[in-house]
Amino acid sequence: MSINRRQFLKLVGASTVAGIGGTAVFNGLRNNGLEAAQTSPDPRSLKGTGTVTRWGFVVDMSKLNPEDYQKCIDACHSIHNVPDMSGLPEEVRKRQEVKWIWKDNFERTFPTAPEDVYQNIELKEKNFFLFCNHCAKPACVRVCPTKATFKRNDGVVMQDMHRCIGCRFCMAACPFGARSFNWRDPRGKDDKGQPFIKPEKENKEYPTRMIGVVEKCTLCTERLAVGKIPACAEVSNGAIVFGDLEDPNSEVRKIIASKYTIRRKPELGTQPSIYYVIGGGEHAG
C-alpha cells in the first residue's frame, strides 16, 4: 500500500482529533460523581475577620513559668502522637528526635541578635519557646519538590504527609530548625524496648507518621477546624497568644502594637509569624 503526503497528513490529523476527543469521552465516562462542590469547611472552624487571614502567635516570655514549658510540650506532643525519643542515648537523641515545639536559650533562639556582654544574665540563660514560625514567605515551601509542604490561605504552613518523599530539602531550607525527619519508625521501640509513642498516651483520633517523612508543627489545623485554638496556646496560661495578624483589632496585633517584640532571624526575609515579648522584669515592657 502506498500513501502520499496528503493522505498521510489527513490520517495524522484524524488520529490526533480522535485521540484528544477519545480522552475526553473516556474521562467523561469515568466521572464518578465526586465534585468539589460537595465539600465545605466545618462551620465551627476559626476564621479571621477580614478577607485575608494570617494566623500568628505572640510568645510573652514574662508570663511563661518554668513549669509551663513541659506542659505545653506534652500537650502538643501527646495530641499529635509525636514520638518521645528521650529514651535514646543523648548523642543519638540529639540527631534523631522529633519535635514540634521545644525550648532553647537566647543565643540559639536569636543567633543574629547583637551581642552584648552587659546583657541581662537572666535573659541570656532563659529558655525560649520555639515552634514552626509559619512564615509569610516560607523557604521550606519554595524548595519542596512535591509540594508536600504548602501555604494555606489562612497562613498555616501545612505538611501533607501523604506526599512527603523524605528528601529533607525543607529541613535544609528552614532557618529555624522547625522540621524533624523520622529516622526511625515512630511506632517502633527504642533500644531499651520502650515504645516511642506510649500506648496510654496515644491519641486515637490523630494519625502517627511513618519512617522517612518530615514532620513539624501544623498549627493544630485539626483543632482550628473545630473552633479550638492551638493546644500550646490553650495550656500556656496566657503566655502564648494566638490570633489573626491581619486583623488590627486582634489580641496579637494589640500586643505587637503596644510592646517591643522581636522575631527570629527577621533579616532572612521569611517573615516569621511568631513574635516574642522578651520581658525582662519590671523595667521592661
Binding site: F150, R152, M158, M161
Partner: protein, 137 residues
C-alpha cells in the same frame, strides 16, 4: 510442513506453560470475600447506610477517600455533603473506622482477595481488634 514434530511439541509446551497458573489453580478458587458489617455501631443503626450508596462505596471508595484526603489536607475543607444532603466529617480514622471498627473482617477481606495493599495504616491508627499483644502499641 518442515519439522512439524518439533513445532507441534513446542506449541504444546508453550500452551501448557502459559496456562499453567490457571490449570494449577483449577478448582481451588478461594472463597469470595464477604466483608462483614457486624460491628456494635453498625448494629445499632436503624438504617444501615454508609456515606453513599452501597454500590457507589463498593466501586468508588478509593476515589472517595482520595478526594477526602485532598479536601481535608490541602483545602482545609472537612465537611462532605453526600448525595442525600447529609453533612459528614471527612476522616478515615474517626468517621469510617468509627462504624467499620472491624478492619480485618471489612477492609482486609477484599483487599487480601484482590492482593492490594493500601498503605493507609502506616500512619492512620487502625482500630484495636483481636490484635496479638505485642503488636498493640
Amino acid at each position: 510442513m518442515y519439522n512439524s514434530g518439533k513445532i507441534i511439541a513446542g506449541l504444546i509446551v508453550f500452551v501448557l506453560f502459559v496456562t499453567f497458573p490457571f490449570l494449577f489453580n483449577m478448582g481451588k478458587a478461594s472463597a469470595k470475600p464477604k466483608p462483614s458489617i457486624d460491628t456494635p455501631v453498625i448494629n445499632q443503626m436503624q438504617v444501615k447506610q454508609c456515606v453513599e450508596s452501597r454500590d457507589f462505596m463498593r466501586t468508588e471508595h478509593m476515589q472517595l477517600l482520595n478526594s477526602w484526603r485532598d479536601s481535608v489536607v490541602r483545602n482545609g475543607d472537612r465537611i462532605y455533603v453526600n448525595k442525600a444532603g447529609q453533612s459528614i466529617s471527612m476522616s478515615l480514622q474517626n468517621t469510617c473506622m468509627n462504624c467499620h471498627s472491624n478492619k480485618k473482617k471489612f477492609c482486609d477481606e477484599c483487599h487480601n482477595y484482590m492482593a492490594v495493599t493500601p498503605y493507609c495504616w502506616t500512619c492512620h491508627i487502625q482500630p484495636k481488634e483481636n490484635m496479638p499483644k505485642e503488636n498493640v502499641l
